[in-house]
Amino acid sequence: MPSLEVITSLVIISVAGLIHASFQMSVSMLTLLSSHTIGSKRSQSRLVLLTNAFVFGAAVAIFMMLATMALIWSLLITVVNVHLLWIICCGLLLGLGVAVWLFYYRRQAGTTLWIPRSLARFLASRAKATKQTAEAFALGLTGVVAEILFIIVPVALASLVLVQLSAFWQAIGIIVYLVTSLLSLLIVNGLIGRGHSIGRIQRWRENNKHFLQFAAGSGLVVLGIYVYVEKVMTIATAVAR
């Protein structure tokens, strides 16, 4: 039976994963990849292979990012007070939350993001050119790396929580983060696999983009405040007593 501390840690990890899932670049790339694959008359089984490879690539990239951040934290934790690391994480969560409220989507039709246009054009052309599963896998990796400015904060928080758990709960925590952070990709992948129209998926995303933006920003701010109260204020108060 997990202790209350472990449950709290897993809740923080899953909320961080859900915030990660609300960032939309990988989903945009998946819809572009699917749209071009269907448009060039490739078979449904080929489409499913490509989209599965894309999602697997994204999963590997997230896992590697999580492991790298965990390594950095575990090295830092030996030389820096852990409360300082929590405070850094909280600051990043609050800062990114406000930035997402203000800047995530561009003020124009569609679901264009605040990324350099040259990078967006490059990613779109790569999605169009992708024909092999290995290319789709690499595209999945690239999609996660291209979104690093936004996702690094939830990944950093989840990995800071993970390094303080036992090995067994670390493994569970990694699975929880991977599943929750991939939720949006898994849902869109399932819809495409079942034969849903890409236009309908894209239209839903466009109609709800401001809600997703608000939810992601609010999630980051609320999580930042919660972590500050739970990990910094509570312990600081206990020490003062």
Binding site: L32, S34, I38, G39, Q108, G110, H196, R200
Partner: protein, 91 residues
């Protein structure tokens, strides 16, 4: 002969090609999960619509062609028309 002036004039103008238009409209229809035969028929009809519109014009821009093709496609398949209009605004 209708000349197509490319977006922001960065490339040379070229002759209007119904085949290129057919392919892009057909791809949008397929992405909206329209069956292949129907997609081809719709693409032919939209191309004819754009060709009729452009026949008295000496030069048109690629944006004009997209706008008129979108109008034509909206009649047959609003879903495909949305896909056709917005595919460059995804990322």
């Amino acid at each position: 002969m209708t000349e197509v002036i490319k977006r922001n004039g960065s490339r040379n103008s070229e002759e209007f090609s119904t085949e290129k238009l057919c392919n892009s409209v057909s791809a949008a229809c397929l992405a909206a999960r329209t069956p292949e035969g129907e997609a081809r028929q719709v693409a032919d009809a939209v191309s004819a619509f754009v060709k009729e519109w452009s026949k008295d014009r000496h030069g048109v821009t690629s944006d004009d062609i997209r706008r008129i093709a979108h109008q034509g496609l909206s009649i047959f398949s609003p879903e495909a028309a949305y896909e056709y209009k917005n595919h460059k605004l995804v990322l």
